[in-house]
Subunit: 368 residues, 5 copies
């Protein structure tokens, strides 16, 4: 994969990373429908898929009225809405299907925690969708809202994307389970893609972490510490998004609602299993990163110690030699050795023997 390590995990907007509230938003009504996210596309795109076991209609919707025809039919009607900035369209949808204003406010609150709300005439599911942009390699964070009734499923994305294409493909290909299933199975299929993306992204990041390991053992360059902390922060970011999603899916698998059939239990249990796998993996990588940090510090400090020990031993060997030279540099009138002819050479001999003995001693005591 040809993208840069440093910036692959840049969320689409920094606000999304750690949700912050603007001072002017404190005290807003819970059904206040102002869109406060970042507008991510120009026009709202509404795609309709209407199917049952026998027939399949797929089209792009221009007017909301055309949807209403499908409102009453027993077929599964899946409306995928890309783009949340156009409050009018959302409001029209809300009115058409008789949704509580809170449902719409919930859809537009793109900074909310993953959650599930049962409004009686519909269920609102909200989850963070993490994705890697194919072009730039950037990871984008997007809020996905799913509204579920008995024959209707609305999915709201912040921007156009083909992430649900495999599901459409399965519907087109007459895959029996999805064509005979109800809206709850469709909801499962969509959430399953979101969770698969979690596992995939943890894996992509994990692979980088595993590759780091080898570099770490071979040559711990200084920049590696930055990379470890970057990966740590990114893995934390993934975990912070996945963990509340897990809670939500757990709540979903326990939800008692007429819109979720008992036969879907096994699917939601599987979904829970999958997200648990993502959590497990991210946990494992967190521990690996923590070990890597420790290994780095141990390696660095061990290397430093070796250098300092070498330098110190080197100095220490010269200290008595310099002292001896100092002795014979004194100007005492009576200093017998100075007179002797071979003194100078004897001094050299003594020095060499002394240096070698010290080296041998340090070596023997394994200091070197």
């Amino acid at each position: 994969m040809g993208f840069n390590t440093k910036n692959i995990f840049k969320p689409s907007n920094t606000m999304a990373r750690f949700v912050k509230i603007r001072k002017e938003d404190i005290g807003k009504a819970p059904d206040d429908m102002r869109f406060r996210g970042e507008q991510k596309m120009d026009e709202t795109l509404i795609r309709l898929v209407d199917y049952d076991n026998d027939k399949l209609v797929e089209k792009v919707v221009d007017k909301i009225e055309t949807i209403l025809e499908n409102k009453k039919t027993p077929t599964v009607t899946w409306l995928n809405i890309d783009g949340l900035h156009d409050t009018d369209i959302l409001q029209e949808i809300g009115v058409s299907f008789d949704f509580d204003k809170l449902v719409l406010a919930g859809i537009m609150d793109t900074h909310s925690r993953p959650k599930i709300n049962d409004f009686g005439n519909c269920i609102l599911i909200s989850i963070k969708m993490l994705q890697q942009d194919e072009g730039s390699g950037l990871i984008t964070v997007e809020n996905l809202s799913i509204v579920l009734t008995d024959t209707l499923l609305l999915s709201f994305q912040e921007k156009r994307g083909d992430v649900f294409e495999p599901v459409r493909e399965r519907i087109r290909n007459q895959k029996k389970r999805i064509r005979t299933g109800a809206t709850d199975y469709l909801a499962f299929a969509l959430l399953d893609i979101v969770v698969d993306n979690y596992i995939y992204l943890v894996g992509v990041l994990g692979e980088k972490i595993e590759m780091l390991e080898e570099t770490l053992l071979q040559e711990p360059r200084k920049s590696i510490i930055d990379e470890i902390y970057t990966f740590k922060r990114e893995m934390n970011f993934l975990r912070k998004n996945i963990t509340p999603a897990k809670e939500m899916i757990l709540a979903l698998s326990k939800l008692e609602s007429e819109f979720i059939k008992e036969s879907s239990d096994i699917h939601f249990k599987e979904l829970l299993n999958n997200i648990n796998q993502a959590v497990d993996s991210s946990e494992t990588y967190r521990e690996i990163l923590s070990d890597q940090l420790n290994i780095y510090h141990t390696t660095i400090s061990s290397k430093l110690n070796d250098v300092m020990k070498f330098l110190t031993i080197f100095s220490v060997i010269f200290i008595p030699l310099t002292f001896i030279a100092g002795i014979y540099g004194t100007n005492f009138e009576v200093l017998p050795e100075l007179k002797y002819e071979y003194s100078y050479f004897i001094m050299w001999g003594v020095m060499i023997v002394l240096a070698l003995s010290m080296l041998w001693y340090f070596k023997k005591r394994n200091w070197w």
Copy 2:
């Protein structure tokens, strides 16, 4: 924002930070109504808002009797009392509405943990309100008590504040949900503001922490450690206030009481979601601070190691050179090299070669 980093998180009184009991207060009766907080305003201000879907009365109340008129009406009566030092007024209110003495004692015990108590004829909710004073930028901690009956909501603040102004605004603007809602919806609206303020303050502090990160990587000045510990302490302070509030809201969302309608469940669940978001955020920043501390220590120690290594290598290079000079400073009568004409220059040559070899060796082994 033009306020000083150091003192933004100074609670209004130090007693409030870590609750302490005075020796003389040990053993006081639970319904003892002495006010033990710090008097934060001169006069008690009572503001009344009385509304239903059709009509709205808003006034400042002078005499308690005027309130009693609203006692029996089916409209929602919201009394906001600023200032808790005047025991007489509180007692009068208590008697008028037939509250248990424990309710009043609970309101005056401004150091208590966030809690919820069902007294049968009313519910007492107590929570810490964290706010940033607009003028000084100081964060103030204040205890908010809410007393709830079917048609009456009393909110008690320690000092005058316009924190609930957005709610009044929504009431005035005929926002349908709040005008048709009962006291439980009003309580939700007030608590929602408190929780929004938590998220806001975590965000304000968080922004400072994120800014620290950049400084940390560029130039880890010494004072940064103080700032990290200051932010750590402040974030802990926020967490210590938010976490028990979360418990309280959880208890509130599970409370079975005639004063809390089933239709409000969805709002209290949303509230729980919001406070969970505040807890998550503060948890994230705590981990970031912990990482920052580690990065600081790594950076500092790495820098120190570089300096010491440089200095040691510098010294080590001179040691054999000084030794050589020492050799030729000896006064042996027979020391052949001294006689040779070019000895001095050869010595210099040897020294330079030696120094360069050492530099090359140290460089090669990557010690430098």
Copy 3:
């Protein structure tokens, strides 16, 4: 407060700190009534308070028989027994009121964990009472046992104390709630004092810890580490006593017994709230102490690094200077510089320039 820091937290006997079993006590019967604590007073003192809303009798009891008169009356009879060493008296009480032998054994087992036992005809509550002796400033640990029936409350203390004086005061002062309340309210009142003392002592210790902080930032003297570890141990000691007490109070608030009226729920819930506050506070101080330790280590190591860096730089500056002097101390016959008239002064000049350049360089690279 004029007492010494070091020895304020000396429990009355070291056995009480970490409960140990004597080899000879292994296998004793659970209703074995040998007193194994430390005798803390000479004579057992029995004080009786008998009251209802209308009348109040308060006296010191000499003979157990006099108590039996109060056994049947519907008034609340509170017997406070100070001193547990006199097995005969306790046995007499046990027989008089028809208590199980286990009740008495439980009262005498002063090393037990806080607990609550329902014996059918009575409830036994056991909790650690932490107190600060007013004279010596020493903290004493004492086991408090409360035995509760419908009209009778017996409290057993290891030694004479006026810790429950405020309750007696409230009874005397006709405080309505306590005079109309039953034994369960009295039990709450006594436990409330115990818990208030927890909060008070955590506060006293906490204040010392907060004062440490300032010293720490100004001048981290060596002894501070001892103080931190002392406070850490003491705070742990408090926590180890408070945490099981919290469990006990939680169990008490959930206990279904005819002796504990539903109307007291609110009081026991408040008690739980209070002890949670004590636990929270001690937890906070534990984190503060942990931070203080880290700050101490950072400060100390930073100071050491500064010293070592200064000394190393100082040495490094002289190394090339000494080398130069060494060069001109050699005795080569041909050493042109020696002959030149101003050589000596030039050498000085060179040396000074060299030293200053090095200083400038080190300063520039911010090493100093």
Copy 4:
């Protein structure tokens, strides 16, 4: 055991260590039967064991039809299928026994977390089988799936293995319990072997860790840190496989299904006990490894400190001696000592006394 430490814990394929999803697998249908593992054997081997208390048939099955004869009989029919790559065979089995497509997809999803799914007409159990290859000493990770009906048990292994041979042996040897037991007892017997292998492998790794301890205390060679981290990672790997298996077994022991008799409760409880033992052991070794790391660091740093202290003291002793020699190497015209006949020898005497005093002083202060 004659195998190499480094590579004993190499899983059969790296994909199995940390499950990763391929981009193209995102959005696949849950009943999609593509096999995505690594093909570990050429041909699928189906072994049939059919038994009740009286008779026993054991054969290798070529055609699926021959199995169908056993479908209706009340005897326990155990089909062990080695090899999952042949989708046709699996599909045939699925159709023959009327299994949901999800069952087959679950069997082929060899990267899934240990789990248990009740499909109504059968139960699917999935667990990781860890084994040590007898030849190479390598640890292999394999997914084991068990499908359970009232008279039928199918076990699916990724590759041929004789791990269940002891169970076959017990069946052949007329061990009463297994011959009279139903499919649930057989399932227990198989899972018991899997769990026993966990305990065995934790023990094998644990033995190596314990042996490390001795080396650590005697001579902490540098490579030991690599070994500790290798063992740490391997123990983590074991834990990450065992912990979800524990959850699964807990769920199994609580499962209410017609296929699991009440009489088997005691066995599944025992199974839970065993896997708890494995978890406990791995936990213990994790703590031991953590202690070993600390001991290593302490030992290494203590050794370094000793060396540095020795070298420093050595240098320090020569410093004043060299200074004295320097003094008498000055060329002052008036330097009285130089003239005195015994000066040189006195200097030596002074130097020796000085060096010895320093040695004595350092020794006395325990610095050496």
Copy 5:
């Protein structure tokens, strides 16, 4: 107590410390009765105590038949079997009392985790018995199994011991509670001794840890680190045995069985309380040991820093002095100071002043 610190906590066999499975034991039947422990005594000893409130029989049993007489009587029959290696005897007992084979296998599996199993016609309780051998001071680990029916209690120990002597004593001494109690009370009495031994041993080890503290503060000798880690490991060993025992006792206190009367609840609750105390204590000592390690490291590093600082300062003072001497050791022809009569003495003066100034400066800046 006159035993050696190092080896007091040597379990009777190393296998018992961390349970390991032998490769050949994988896949054994759960009712396989091979004894896999270490034979700890030659002959199996069976002691019978048969009692009710009125009569008491105590004898050593040779033939199993003699026991069977007591099988039907309503008196409490306590059989204490020391030694588990003789499979025949155990089998005979099993058959006589009609126990499931799993009961016997459970008794012989001396490496199992503490557990409780209800077999319908009996309850099997299994717990680790930790004891200190009076002679050698060694700690022995032994598995205790208790089998309970309505009138029968069998206790199985691995080797002969008089640990239950106090219970026999209480039975002999006509202690009312035990003589009127049923088998469940007897079981409680035996388990109580086991738990008392836990508390006792934690206390014995704890005392050594507390004594360590003083040595630590006075003179941290190097070997202390070994002792701390030894104590750490031993305390962990105790904890690892006590914690699962606590789980077992919790399960026991919640067990609904005809053999455990409601009247015993209070005793099992007390037992739980006691083992909680053991767990608390061990937890406390673990924290103390952790603090001790930190104190040791702080002390050692602080001492090292002092030494290094002293030595560095010592060197630093001589560096400029040696430089000055070097200056006047140069052989420049023109070096005015050399000519001046008092130069030498002035040099000394300057040197002394310089050295003192440096000392004063270092002292002033508190470096020394």
